[in-house]
Amino acid sequence: MSRSLGTGDTRTTKAWLVCLVLAGISFVVIVLGLNTGTIRIPPLRVLDTLFGGGSGRDHIVLFEYRLPRIVVTVLAGAGLGAAGAVMQGLSRNALADPGVLGLHAGAALGLVMFVSFFRDLDGSAAVLIPLFTFAGGVIAAVLIVLLSYSRNRGIVPVRLILSGIGVASGLSAITLYWSLRLDEDTYAFTARWLAGSVWGRDWIHAAALLPWIVIVLPYVLSQTRSLNNLSLGDETAAGIGTSVKRQRLLLLGAAVALSSASVSMAGGIGFIGLIAPHLARRLVGPMYQHLLPVACLVGVVILVTADTIGRSVFQPNAIPAGVVVAVVGAPYFLFLLSRTK
């Protein structure tokens, strides 16, 4: 559609450029993330090891410890960025975010249920973790949609935000109730998870997260046309020929799947879903075919950087990436809030 406006081609070129630059930045932060830690490996040796060279010790450190964690971080960052962009398009609210809307509180409840039933987090049961957090996220989403639905007006945006806040508090109370009954170690894990700590560090965790992102992300990327239409408003979208209700439901499900699966391995990280689409919109404009991939890449850059900072600057007790993101992200959000009408 934008092509007919004449500016489409320049925009597409710009979007490609931005994507390239961001991919370059992602590559740099990933290599930096791989080289940082208690055992430092120089960037060139990282590259060398990745392509088969390097000493045996480098090999073990990199392939057994650093790489799976980085894969988890990259997948989760992309998932959270995309989920935020989709949520903002669906709700036509630039301040919408899976965390703010209470989906993470549902995912947290799912995680606490998981650790209460399966104590072993590293075994093959780990594959089930995204399923549990997804179930929690769906419960939260259903509650929020039911509560903000009006027979005449559909989903009322203001109610969406208010019920999100309420549902998040309620689910958090249940989560707190359960987590206080856990033993000390499991409790410590849950506390870190809630603060947004990337804990997935084995290949099994990367494998558990991978299918969710690999299946849902391309689906969302293929739906950029509906997202464009939906963000124009229900009536316009219906006029163009989008089946508003069905598309909204499918895309909401996709956003819940992406964010719940991402937080299952990367902890309850808020604000990435909020900031990444915002930055993307500033960089490439509001068209979803440009915005969505850029939001994914921005999400990757933010999460990998935050995790690396949290791990390396605050030795020996690593600070969860979620705290790093919130300390940078919340002020940015408040700044946006103070400027939007």
């Binding site: 203001v158 109610r159 019920s163 707190l176 007790n317 600070i319 919130a326 939007t340």
Partner: protein, 339 residues
């Protein structure tokens, strides 16, 4: 001048409501003192309170454990409810609450910082610090809301409060994790009056009661503000001054409550609503009735938290959330305006 019959009937109703709430509070306090791991008879409780005998074990339980705890719950419940009613009046936002608006989170953050860096601070200092924390987050939330184009809308206030709460909460848990305070802080987070001792109550209760009394003095002006800026201005009210005084009062009440009992959400949201339903729109009645009902709610919630699963205790914040959240959602659902 004799009041018209309608008003007189209203007065009788008001007097009845206040008497009933006071009786309810007395009963709740009495029940909370006598029920527990060791059930005590009425006469034992009576003599323990009024003729304390240090040599008797039952008297000691009542005097050293239950009494400060129950009285603490009552005072803090009253303070939270009054803070909520003032906030709702000042901002004309029916969803206003010190927890939702991030005021509690500021106090919690400062308490976490002092736990981490100065673990042995005396209680008096902790109170001052948590007050400063509450003040800091209040200034942040209201400053940001007011600086935006279009001014301080209730919606903007709610969102900036929620985000500020998330930011401070996140930094609090970061500190807790970095300094290995997680479990200490978690129980305190969850909110509880279990740990309140006489030495704390002696500082806390007089200040809170005085500030609550002061709030009742503010109530007339708050009523006028709640009717709209124009009404208040026409009556010659200094809006800015009243808002500032009201907010400062809220900050003192919230900061002190959090320093003593952690973050107990939703008391400040639910109680003023119930009070308004019962007694009408005049804050001169809403504020004192909120104080009484807030005290009742927290005393009962604490009792429930103790009795739910003995010998373990449920966190009181969870107990209050289970009552408060459905109510909040019910109100949010009824919200018709685009805030």
């Amino acid at each position: 001048m004799t009041a018209p019959p309608v008003l007189r009937a209203g007065r009788i109703r008001q007097a009845l409501l206040f008497t009933a709430s006071a009786v309810l509070l007395a009963l709740a306090i009495f029940a909370a003192i006598s029920l527990g791991a060791k059930d005590l008879t009425v006469s034992t409780v009576w003599s323990a309170v009024f003729h304390y005998d240090r040599s008797l074990m039952t008297h000691q339980i009542i005097h050293e454990l239950r009494l400060p705890r129950v009285l603490g719950a009552a005072v803090i419940g009253a303070a939270l409810a009054v803070a909520g009613s003032l906030i709702q009046g000042i901002t004309r936002n029916p969803l206003g609450d010190t927890g939702v608006l991030g005021i509690n989170a500021g106090a919690m953050f400062v308490v976490a910082v002092s736990f981490a860096f100065f673990p042995n601070l005396p209680y008096g200092t902790l109170i001052v610090l948590s007050f400063l924390g509450a003040l800091m987050s209040t200034l942040l939330v209201f400053g940001l809301g007011a600086s935006a184009p279009g001014g301080l809308t209730p919606m903007r206030l709610t969102v900036s409060g929620a985000v500020t709460a998330a930011l401070l909460g996140s930094m609090t848990s970061g500190i807790a994790i970095y300094f290995d305070l997680s479990q200490d802080l978690a129980f305190w987070y969850a909110g509880g009056v279990a740990g309140i001792k006489w030495s704390q109550l002696e500082i806390l209760a007089p200040i809170l009661l005085m500030v609550i009394a002061w709030s009742m003095g503010l109530a007339r002006s708050i009523s006028l503000i709640s009717m709209g800026d124009e009404v208040a201005l026409n009556l010659g009210l200094n809006l800015r001054r009243i808002r500032l005084l009201g907010l400062l009062t809220v900050v003192v009440l919230a900061g002190l409550s959090v320093s003593a009992a952690g973050a107990i959400g939703f008391v400040g949201l639910v109680i003023p609503h119930i009070a308004r339903k019962l007694i009408g729109v005049d804050y001169r009645q809403i504020v004192p009735l909120s104080a009484l009902l807030g005290a009742v709610l927290l005393v009962l919630a604490d009792l429930g938290a103790r009795m739910a699963n003995p010998p373990e205790e449920l966190a009181i914040g969870i107990m209050v959330s289970f009552i408060g959240v459905p109510f909040f959602l019910f109100l949010a659902r009824k919200e018709r305006r685009d805030l």
